[in-house]
């Protein structure tokens, strides 16, 4: 059940906080772990969801929010495009199941990105479908913001890649 995953994640973060003094180190570690998970999760996702190939960044962002997040975390973030170029998107989560058992960050860990694993997962998964992206947390409820917002910036246009292949 999801509780097992959430509790395990919590224990992992707690252990990492013990091992690494600096928040940035924990954040980096979580991101790297997330990346490792993402590159394998994508296979599971594609097998379970049978989504067709996305033809645009906006379609990709929609699939991540509406299919993937729903499938694995049971929530559907809202997607919004935040740049005229069409390659920057935000996923806004008003409910984040990973922090179900967390009330607030301890004072000495103020810059810890508790859910940084998610960023790594999205980045790893996208890379496996040949989409390079930068994924970061723009807002975090645990740090006092109103919502939790994940920003995805696609780094190269999908069309260029397709042309190269032809």
């Amino acid at each position: 059940s999801r509780e097992l995953f959430v509790l395990t994640y919590g224990a992992l973060v707690a252990q990492l906080c013990k091992d690494y003094e600096k928040d940035e180190d924990v954040n980096t570690y979580l991101d790297r772990m997330g990346y490792g998970i993402g590159v394998r999760l994508i296979d599971d996702f594609l097998a379970r969801s049978a989504v067709k190939k996305c033809r645009s960044y906006s379609e990709t962002a929609d699939v991540i929010a509406q299919v993937a997040f729903k499938m694995y975390l049971g929530v559907t973030p809202t997607v919004s495009c935040s740049s005229a170029a069409g390659n920057e998107f935000s996923l806004i989560l008003d409910k984040n199941p990973l922090v179900d058992f967390v009330e607030e960050l301890p004072a000495e860990r103020a810059s810890l990105c508790y859910c940084n694993l998610l960023c790594g997962v999205i980045r790893g998964a996208l890379e496996m479908v040949h989409l390079a992206a930068e994924v970061t947390f723009l807002q975090d409820r645990l740090k006092g913001d109103a919502v939790t917002e994940i920003g995805i910036t696609f780094l190269r246009k999908a069309e260029d890649r397709k042309q190269k292949r032809d």
Partner: protein, 150 residues
């Protein structure tokens, strides 16, 4: 379901990550196993609290072990323990012939030396669960041929 895949991946990343860090830094394999076990311990404590909120009081130790084998194992690993043996003097052997965390690894004797790393977390899980039910225990695991383990 899908959550299971997520947990399995997280778990194997955790094992890989910790050992990777150990190789670069301290190089103490024993510490990694301890860390994994203590993480499992915390999770086990939390999980058992949530599972047993509504269940009736357990009659005795054997009852608790049966709960672990049936309900607890099913919730965590989607199947029951295949075999429970005891000497009625405090030693219990739980056998799972298709342990979820090992099925992806191999079906036989290959990679046997890596198996204990994957069992450390689960040992902690059981120890944590038992501890919150009032039982102090030592949990060890043995793998002779994957994916079965005791």
């Amino acid at each position: 379901m899908a959550d299971e895949a997520l947990f399995l991946l997280l778990h194997s990343e955790m094992v890989a990550g910790l050992y990777r860090a150990a190789e670069q830094g301290e190089g103490e394999n024993g510490r990694c196993t301890t860390k994994l076990e203590s993480m499992g311990f915390r999770v086990g404590q939390g999980l058992i609290e949530r599972f047993t909120r509504d269940t009736a009081r357990f009659k005795d130790e054997l009852d608790i072990m049966k709960f672990i084998c049936k309900d607890f194992w099913t919730t965590v690993f989607k199947k029951q323990i295949d075999n429970l043996r005891t000497n009625h003097q405090g030693i219990y052997v739980l056998q799972d012939n298709k342990f979820r965390l090992l099925t992806q690894m191999s079906a036989g004797k290959q990679y046997l030396e890596h198996a204990p790393k994957y069992l450390a977390f689960t040992c902690g899980l059981i120890r944590g669960g038992l501890s919150n039910l009032g039982i102090k225990s030592i949990v060890t695991a043995e793998v002779s041929s994957m994916p079965a383990c005791k």
